[in-house]
């Protein structure tokens, strides 16, 4: 009962701040609402018992990436150059198509979830012989999900090198 109330309250705030992120005119305020949104998502992780993921969410997203967003928003000149003439309906049509696709997707997920209800979360640890949230995540990452994990880290390395090459034309 308490969990359900907390879940719906958190979801409400997450959606509320997400809407504010896209509707606020001032870009800095919009980024700040994004931080709040990430913090509430972290709270949702805590509610689901994933403390490690929650701490990482705050550390990486709220404390790291969004700081860089803020830098970009504060430092980049926001005066837009005059745009070339475009079909005024183009954006609206694109938006309609996108929202229709997302609506379909959410509907499909909801129907699927209704037809095959998810099994109740097991109280026993995922990995036998290992207790603790961090240990479980680490164990799974380096056993069952090793290849996706390595691919993701490769991707990050490539992105890092790419950023350095782009930023420094002459090495």
């Amino acid at each position: 009962m308490g969990q359900a109330i907390a879940f719906y309250a958190l979801s409400f705030f997450i959606l509320f701040f997400a809407v504010l992120v896209v509707t606020t005119k001032d870009m800095v305020h919009s980024v700040l609402f994004l931080v709040l949104d990430f913090l509430f998502v972290a709270a949702l992780y805590v509610l689901l018992g994933a403390q490690f993921l929650a701490a990482i969410q705050v550390l990486v997203y709220a404390g790291g990436i969004v700081v860089l967003y803020l830098f970009v928003v504060m430092l980049v000149n926001l005066k837009r150059p005059p745009e070339a003439y475009q079909d005024p309906h183009r954006r609206r049509n694109l938006g309609l198509a996108l929202s229709a696709a997302i609506l379909l997707e959410v509907g499909a997920i909801a129907t699927y979830g209704y037809v095959n209800p998810a099994p109740a979360l097991a109280a026993a640890p995922l990995v036998p012989g290992i207790s603790g949230n961090t240990e479980e995540v680490g164990w799974l990452l380096y056993t069952s999900y090793l290849i996706p994990f390595e691919i993701a880290s490769m991707l990050l390395l490539v992105a890092m090198i790419g950023a350095i090459v782009l930023a420094k034309r002459e090495l």
């Binding site: 305020h29 403390q51 803020l70 504060m74 961090t134």
Partner: protein
């Protein structure tokens, strides 16, 4: 009911109040120590030897006029000091001040909570604190605060990397992220991690100075270049919040350093039986004494060292501390594997 609600609430109230009182007296201590370092007396007027000076300061700051610049971003301007202060305070939730003790016939743990990801919680909450500084500079709509806040955020982000890497090597040695478990690991290893990880300790301490914007890395508030720093436009209680947040962060860094490297609440040489007569001193006294040493060194460093130049600061962070921290981490990992073989 009592165990789940009343006792944690009492602990929170005690820790928060103790912190705030500690912070105000840190200010006095700093003024006194720096005065002694410069052959002055320091505050002497309010109370004997000036010990009531913090009260006078608090009253002064509260009755001062509270100004918001006309062109400031009002909401962000108001929120920034709060954002700076809150992370500095909620970190205390996971800091273990002592072991389990009996108080009034009840087992009480001398920490608010012991979570599985304690150290990660400290790091992540601290990483949110940088918003207070960036936003203060941005919302003031004034040149020098903006420059100062850009400097500050670049500095905090750079040194966060080195500090977090040293924490990882401590985690490797301790085998846990929980602050309480880290202290227990030092108890069962019979040695403070200061002696196992001296390099990590050094980097953590230098990084701690930079993370709290303390001299010799107090670039964000370099008066000669930036008038007052990121809080130039703030007055009264809002300015005081920034000020208190800085000192609260110093106490946080000292407590984390004590927990990770100096054995937290353990007495010195916890393995030597001949020193067991020291056991009558409660653990939290040791914890406070060790943290106090750190705080004193913070002030001592400020009285001694001149300020770094900004490019020197960045070079030290990226070209010295981060490579050393990575090296330390790799060596720690190799040694740990070799020992386990």
């Amino acid at each position: 009911m009592i165990d789940n609600l009343v006792i944690p609430l009492l602990k929170i109230i005690i820790v928060l109040n103790a912190t705030l009182v500690g912070v105000t007296y840190m200010v006095l201590l700093e003024r006194k120590v720096i005065a002694w370092a410069q052959s002055r007396l320091g505050p002497m007027r309010v109370g004997p030897y000036g010990i009531l000076q913090p009260v006078a300061d608090a009253v002064k700051l509260m009755i001062k006029e509270d100004i918001t610049p006309v062109r400031a971003d009002k909401w962000v301007f108001t929120a920034a000091p709060i954002i700076a202060m809150v992370p500095a305070l909620i970190v205390y939730a996971v800091i273990p001040f002592g072991d389990t003790t009996r108080l009034f016939g009840r087992e009480v743990t001398l920490y608010i909570s012991d979570i599985n990801v304690g150290l990660l919680y400290v790091v992540s909450v601290a990483s949110v604190g940088v918003y207070g500084i960036i936003l203060a500079g941005y919302a003031s709509n004034s040149k020098y605060p903006l420059l100062a806040s850009l400097r500050a955020s670049a500095q905090l982000i750079s040194y966060e990397v080195a500090v977090t890497l040293t924490l990882v090597s401590v985690i490797l040695v301790a085998g846990s992220l929980s602050m309480v478990q880290i202290v227990r690991a030092q108890e069962s290893a019979h040695v403070w991690f200061l002696f196992v990880q001296p390099l990590a300790f050094g980097i953590f301490f230098i990084g701690g100075l930079a993370e709290t914007n303390r001299a010799p890395f107090d670039m964000p508030e370099a008066e000669q270049e930036l008038t007052g720093g990121f809080h130039t436009e703030y007055s009264g209680m809002r300015f005081a919040l920034f000020f208190l947040a800085e000192y609260a962060n110093m106490i946080v860094v000292s407590s984390v350093a004590t927990t990770l490297f100096l054995g937290g609440w353990l007495r010195p040489f916890p393995n030597v039986a001949t020193l067991s007569f020291l056991d009558f001193i409660p653990g939290w006294t040791w914890f406070l004494a060790k943290s106090f040493v750190f705080l004193y060194v913070f002030i001592w460093v400020r009285a001694t060292l001149p300020r770094y130049r900004y490019d020197q600061l960045m070079r030290l962070g990226w070209k010295v501390l981060i490579p050393l921290a990575i090296l330390n981490l790799v060596v720690t990992g190799i040694v740990k594997v070799l020992i386990a073989l």
